[in-house]
Amino acid sequence: MRTKAVRHTLRGLGLVCAAALALTACSSSTTGSGDGGPVSASGLDTALSQGGSITVWAWEPTLKQVVTDFEAKYPKVHVNLVNAGTGDKQYTALQNAVQAGNGAPDVAQIEYYALGQFALGKSLQDLSKYGAPDLSKQYSPGPWTSVSINGGVYALPMDSGPMALFYNKKVFDKYDLTVPTTWDQYVDDARKLHAADPNAYITNDTGDAGFTTSMIWQAGGHPYKVNGTKVSVDFTDPGSAKFTDTWQKLVSEHLVAPVSSWSDQWYKGLGDGSIATLAMGAWMPANLASGVPTASGDWRVAPLPQWRQGQSASSENGGSSLAVMKSSAHQDLAYAFLKFANAGDGAQDRIKGGAFPATTADLNSQAFLDTAFPYFGGQQANKIFSDSAKSVVTGWQYLPYQVYANSVFNDTVGKAYVSSTPLASGLKAWQDASVKYGTGQGFTTGQ
């Protein structure tokens, strides 16, 4: 996952606000142009030439350049780019503002997993009236499915995170490990590596909701089924079971480093070879280059290991979108900014800044595919990422209250990492907690 799953200090507040966000409690007063008729491209141009000021809440660093270029192109528009927090911190702030009825931005960055929560909470503007559905062909299927909710389009994809396996080649060469093509081989490598060097681990994991759901996604599981206000959660389906069986071996045999992703120890482990692989989204190279510069040249990229030899299934891990808030008084300008940043010139700015695109034209462009990564010893890693983007398993759904669900992951599944609780029991506890919360929020729940 792109952000830390749990922040204890925020938990209490999150609950208060999540309750307020739920379907029933959250009817924000619309001060914007509302759900009026369709707005044409010329309508957007008029808005842009008239000018105005919009506020964008986002933590994505490459947006700075996008805003500069946007303001240069449309000098009458002023964009106030605010980093109101990363991930769930920003969601809490956003929910607070929505609940309070003012102080919300015009545009907000929202990760795909959290989009459903805000869309069904009626905080976001359906972009269909701007013709956003026509853009569907421009984006790779994974991100596009994520922004299409209940027949509407509630955001434009900003980046994507098709998964790949990042591995430390120096460690693999030293211990004569083969790059795994299946998860069974991955477990074998994990055993071999840890036996050869007790300080080295195949990867780190202390329980990460985003990672777990991405892995189940790749395995073909559909634990979440959402249809309107009908929600079911079932972590015993065959896909989830595949993941649970394999990962249980790694956890029980203590083959994963007890280090949380994004911590300083994590960056340390990535640098000194004690964490040998990462199954992560394609946005990771920029983080490796800036966070672990000392290991430049050590790492390589490989396709994600498969659950069955010869398959080529993948899933998305992280990635975020830009959405227009329903309470915005400048929705036309806000959408014009979205289009510029995620479908227009801004997308190029962001790729140059190291972001991984969601646009098919860029994913397939020769220049993009041929890009050699000095950090990966000159490897053309985008070829692997681009293939992964094409083979994302379809049909995955997140809960309409996934932000809450992820926040209780460590209290439930997390136990499997620190005690003898089996992973399957942990998932069952997570399932129960998710169902219970959904019922309390007025969803029709089942299993």
Binding site: R2, T3, K4, T9, L13, V16, W57, W59, E60, P61, T62, V82, N83, A84, G85, T86, G87, K89, A93, N96, A97, Q99, A100, G101, N102, G103, D159, G161, W262, D264, Y267, K268, G271, D272, G281, W283, M284, A286, N287, S290, G291, V292, P293, T294, G318, G319, S320, G353, G354, A355, F356
Partner: protein
């Protein structure tokens, strides 16, 4: 750090029989040695000093060395000055802005809270009026309510008033310090003899003049104590600004450093742990200074009312 128990101990020395203590050899100046107490004190010292030492040591390391060298000892490369320079210039020097914001919140918030606590505490201690018991009950009740619990309702109220995301949203709630008021109340009843006030009145001084010329100097140790309390609380305030302030331009240091820390946890973000650590060190320096400079008042203020004379 010397503790508040020094003062009463010294008082006991004067009141006890000096020769008998000499016979026992042990005195306040030559206390009995106790291995267990020394060990315990040593542990407490270690417990308090190690995190501070870690902070100071880590602030001398570059981002790379931070991850590549042992935590509690220096790496070969001494980068403290470079870290401080980077902290002050990173992101267009936003750290300086955060420092000024914090100072603004402290001066207006903590200063205002102290001022109000002194006025209120003095009034409650030295004047009789109807409803005093009710006020007392309210203040004691308010001391028991954690400010964190009030943050969300305050946010909703301020949001309706259009005050969120402005400095006022942090300053106004900081102005209220029930504990400070209570402390001043207790302190004023002890430190300002009613006879003195009566004498002043007989000599023809007005209430304001009496307050500023007679009472205020007597209250000084208590004021410094309350000031330290409120300054520390405002300087370290995290939850209230977290809820109220969205614009990094108005962040206090606590929020700003946290935002830098979070940079490491997002796609495309740049980990700047070295700047977070150096920034933290710079953030606590003014507090340490305040404590060292004012500890004399701090102690006498804390002990106020503990000994019935």
């Amino acid at each position: 750090m010397p503790t508040a128990t020094d003062a009463p101990a010294r008082a006991r020395k004067h009141s006890t029989d000096v020769p008998r203590i000499r016979r026992r050899v042990h005195s306040v100046d030559r206390p009995r040695r106790s291995v267990s107490v020394t060990l315990l004190a040593g542990l407490v010292v270690l417990y308090t000093v190690v995190p501070l030492a870690w902070l100071v040591i880590s602030a001398t390391k570059t981002q790379t060395d931070l991850l590549g060298s042992p935590g509690i000892w220096f790496s070969g490369h001494f980068a403290l000055w470079d870290n401080i320079r980077q902290t002050l210039t990173y992101d267009d020097g936003i750290f300086g802005r955060w420092l000024l914001n914090t100072l603004l919140y402290v001066v207006l918030g903590a200063g205002g809270a102290t001022f109000l606590a002194v006025l209120g505490g003095y009034g409650l201690a030295k004047f009789g009026f109807r409803g005093k018991r009710t006020v007392f009950a309210l203040v004691i009740g308010a001391v028991a309510v954690p400010t964190t619990a009030l943050a969300v309702p305050t946010f909703l109220m301020f949001s309706k008033m259009g005050l969120t995301n402005t400095p006022w949203a942090v300053i106004i709630p900081s102005l209220v310090s029930p504990f400070g008021l209570y402390l001043m109340w207790v302190f004023a009843s002890e430190a300002v003899p009613t006879e003195l006030l009566e004498a002043a009145r007989v000599d023809g001084a007005g209430e304001l003049r009496t307050f500023f010329r007679i009472s205020l100097p007597l209250l000084a140790p208590g004021i410094v104590t309350v000031l330290l309390f409120t300054v520390v609380a405002t300087w370290n305030n995290y939850f209230l600004p977290l809820i109220m302030i969205k614009d990094p331009k108005w962040y206090p240091l606590t929020l700003g450093l946290n935002a830098w820390n979070d940079q490491a946890a997002t796609a495309g973000g740049q980990p700047v742990f070295n700047l977070v650590i150096t920034g933290s060190l710079l953030t606590i320096l003014p507090l340490i200074m305040a404590f060292l400079l004012l500890q004399r008042y701090w102690q006498s203020g804390l002990a106020a009312g503990s000994v019935k004379e």
